[in-house]
């Protein structure tokens, strides 16, 4: 094995990238060294994804220079990035789900070359064995777990001779145990003198895995902590420094906020509800209570939320709102009774991007009075309604006629909250309410949820962000494999009990 070169393997100098209305990266300098795990830390929207997009050849910088071993390069395409030895593993996965592991590994090879399936499989098996991982090369990718897919992608990068491995939000889809395994894998890669770049917004992971931490905020590099400081200073000091850099002293949430909910009788009761791909689920939410539902993404939370909202048919069991069974009702009827659902897929299903804000605010009551008379649209009441909600929920939009797709993620979320929380909400289901939002919008969204609960709304908060749940929830249900494996009160050691439930210990 060659000794790592003295200088950085990759150097970024003055990198700037603008998108319409946003500066994603503002004169960022970054050095990536062989044999190190380099953590890029920042909130959502801090510019991390754009930065690695440039390393991976998906995005071109507007200004600045990228150097590989001191030589200025233009990473014009993913192919070029691979040739330079930069392999990237993206958050959403870049494997074709219908192909097998071995087939995915050979993607990108010139099409006329004969396909040496045996050689590919042997190479992959050998590599897996070296890292103590077992994945069958003949398995179809769609059948693998998210963690396994990620490992396949990492090994694919290694098989291609990558010297730099970029991992984009690699831990967000993993169980705590999966995160630990990934940590071990990254250590091993660094020991083999690879450069590993881990992108994350989680402070704990940064401190745990990083040899070097770079903090980004609003597209600018605001701090860099080298290996010496990370080794020498104690973790509390480091933590404070990083928090200060990430949030500019505004604080990143803090501990659970005590709040006197107007607790009452059960508003939403779920009794043995069976949803697609899951088993019977039961819980109750009182007026003014926030029930958190924690769990790794893809464990049936979405199906549960959609079944509660009436979008998906229940296979069994009952849902009661204020004691009335609503299992047989459709979305509209449930909404009129006060059951609301704030989806996390804001542009995909929550809104119609090309429609104005005003109509999106009425998307779930099309045809209702006073906005439609005899089925005819009444522009004035519609616009007035929109203006009122835009003001009440502080939506930053030029006007009620602006297409929703032109708004930022935070403002689209405000439109959704305005629609679902206004007009007689009794019970509200939030699905990953702050997913993809920046710090300020995250804070304002959480405040809205809390205020609504304070006003007596029974709230179900589905989130994969444990900190969010611990901040807002009164009780926490943990979901795994389509069922609720335990419900715990949000008190002192809730975090560790939830983590144990998520890892598979039943309560």
């Amino acid at each position: 094995m060659k000794a790592p070169p003295a200088g950085p393997l990759i150097g970024l100098r003055g990198i700037t990238k603008r998108f319409p209305g946003v500066v994603a990266n503002d004169h960022v300098d970054l050095d990536i060294h062989a044999g190190e795990v380099h953590v890029l830390l920042g909130e959502n929207g801090a510019g991390k994804s754009t930065l690695i997009g440039m390393l991976a050849g998906l995005v071109q910088p507007d200004e600045g220079e990228i150097r590989v071993e001191g030589e200025p390069v233009r990473i014009s395409s993913p192919k070029r990035a691979l040739r330079l030895g930069i392999g990237a593993v993206f958050q959403h996965g870049m494997l074709a789900p219908t192909l097998t592991v071995a087939e995915n590994l050979s993607l990108g090879t010139a099409w006329w070359k004969p396909w040496a399936a045996g050689a590919v499989e042997r190479g992959f098996d050998a590599l897996c064995a070296g890292f103590g991982v077992r994945i069958a090369p003949g398995a179809v990718v769609g059948d693998l777990s998210l963690g396994e897919r990620q490992q396949v992608e990492i090994f694919r990068a290694l098989l291609r001779g990558s010297r730099v491995l970029v991992l984009d939000e690699a831990t967000s889809m993993l169980t705590p145990q999966g995160v630990a395994e990934l940590g071990g894998l990254m250590r091993e890669l660094a020991r083999r003198s690879m450069a590993v770049v881990l992108i994350t917004h989680k402070l704990g992971e940064a401190l745990e895995f990083g040899d070097r931490i770079t903090v980004l905020r609003h597209g600018r590099k605001v701090a860099e902590l080298g290996p010496d400081r990370l080794r020498d200073e104690d973790s509390e000091t480091l933590r404070e420094q990083v928090i200060h850099a990430m949030f500019d002293g505004t604080g990143g949430g803090g501990g659970p906020i005590a709040r006197g909910g107007v607790r009452g009788r059960a508003v939403l009761a779920v009794d043995g509800l069976v949803v697609e791909g899951g088993s019977a689920v039961s819980f109750e939410v009182d007026a003014g209570e926030v029930l958190g539902i924690a769990g790794i993404d893809g464990n049936g939370q979405k199906q549960l939320a959609e079944t509660l909202a009436g979008q998906r048919r229940a296979l069994g069991g009952d849902v009661l709102l204020d004691g009335q069974p609503i299992t047989g009702l459709d979305v509209g009827a449930r909404r009129r009774l006060g059951l609301r659902y704030v989806t996390d897929d804001r542009l995909g299903e929550g809104t119609v991007a090309g429609f104005p804000v005003s109509l999106n605010l009425l998307l779930k009551e099309i045809g209702g009075a006073p906005f439609w008379k005899w089925g005819i649209e009444q522009p004035d009441p519609i616009r007035r309604h929109a203006r009122d909600l835009i003001e009440a929920f502080d939506v930053r939009a030029p006007g009620p006629d602006t297409p929703v797709g032109k708004l930022s993620g935070g403002n689209i979320q405000k439109v959704l909250l305005a629609r679902e929380l206004s007009g007689g909400a009794r019970a509200v289901i939030h699905s990953k309410p702050t997913h993809g939002l920046d710090v300020r919008n995250t804070a304002s969204t959480r405040r809205r949820i809390r205020e609504a609960a304070g006003a007596g709304v029974a709230t179900v908060l589905i989130s994969t962000d444990l900190d969010e749940i611990l901040e807002l929830a009164d009780r926490v249900a943990v979901m795994s494999d389509g069922r609720i494996v335990g419900i715990v009160a949000n008190d002192g050691d809730a975090r560790s009990r939830i983590a144990r439930l998520m890892a598979g210990d039943s309560a």
Binding site: V59, H92, T98, N104, T109, A110, H435, G436
Partner: protein, 318 residues
């Protein structure tokens, strides 16, 4: 029943099946390439028609069917290249452009035919065949199947070759990835746009050849609008074959048999109205769709243009 199963009926049915089935086979194989790569090629009817006219023209001018086939391939690819530029490069709506190309090819070939041949209505001489030794002497089906122009054998062989290519080379992988998860192909260093452009051009070549076969071998002349929806049947064939070329072969045989039923029944002494018989292949498609439709899997990215780094629905700015 004896009448139906008479030797004359069977021979004529199988012979007709080959004549009507080969264009479907070629066009279906071509459409399959596009669909695998994620392009729904509605313009294939126009590509066939262009191929039919050019094939006839080439064969008529030079006296060589093979030159005609080359002309047909070229014309099909010319139409396909418009589709490739507009739909793959520029990412325009594949359905609208496909319909536009079909209309344009219909109009243009009819116009050209009118200007050149409307007074003479020339016919091509009979097709020379290549009897396969041994097989061609088989009773009933021998001459119908194995005493044919070599292009028939090549068409069947191409189905086999394609199925090997799909399974044993990177071609299949690249095409499938371009259709199922273009971003994965791009990230792996493949070129989605180039793959799809190549796929659409291949479709044009196959469809053009299919059209040329129709005019040169099938009819021996060109008639405006002569493809009569064969391209659309090819789309369905490709869809139902779920990426397997040999299934296209089987389907083309089936539909070819349906199409040739009229003549065969007339040979057997039945007078069944043409219009009723013409419904057979389409009715068969509908029946198949009703029964197997739910299983007719199409690539996930079919019909949508690929833009690198295009905004996903996951909210975060990249």
């Amino acid at each position: 029943m004896d009448m139906i199963l008479s030797a004359a009926f069977l021979t004529s049915l199988v012979a007709g099946m080959v004549v009507s089935g080969v264009p479907l086979l070629l066009a279906g194989l071509g459409e399959q390439i596009s669909e695998k790569a994620g392009v729904l090629n509605i313009g294939i009817e126009g590509m066939m028609l262009a191929g039919a006219y050019a094939g006839f023209l080439g064969a008529y001018q030079t006296g060589s069917l093979w030159v005609g086939f080359l002309y047909g391939i070229g014309a099909g690819m010319a139409v396909a290249s418009v589709m490739a530029v507009l739909c793959v490069r520029l990412g325009l709506n594949q359905i609208v452009i496909g319909i536009g190309l079909t209309l344009g090819a219909e109009g243009l070939t009819a116009l050209l035919h009118h200007v050149r041949f409307s007074r003479s209505y020339p016919r091509l001489p009979g097709v020379e065949t290549l009897p396969l030794p041994g097989l061609a002497e088989l009773p009933i089906v021998g001459s119908a199947l194995f005493d044919r122009h070599p292009i028939v054998y090549l068409a069947v062989a191409s189905a086999v070759v394609l199925s090997v290519l799909y399974r044993r080379t990177h071609l299949g992988l690249t095409l499938r990835a371009a259709g199922d998860k273009p971003a994965a192909l791009d990230a792996a260093g493949g070129d989605v746009i180039r793959t799809r452009v190549a796929a659409v051009l291949c479709t044009g070549a196959f469809a053009g050849l299919g059209g040329a076969f129709m005019a040169e071998v099938g009819a021996g002349l060109f008639v405006p609008f002569m493809t009569g929806g064969a391209g659309f049947i090819a789309i369905v064939l490709a869809m139902l074959a779920r990426g397997r070329p040999l299934w296209v072969l089987a389907g083309a045989a089936l539909f070819g048999a349906c199409l040739s039923m009229t003549t065969a029944l007339q040979v057997a002494g039945f007078d069944v109205p043409t219009d009723v018989i013409q419904m057979l292949p389409f009715a068969a498609v509908m029946a198949v769709l009703i029964v197997f439709g739910r299983g007719a899997s199409l690539p996930a990215a079919l019909g949508s243009a690929y833009v690198r780094g295009g905004r996903g629905s996951d909210g975060e700015r990249s």
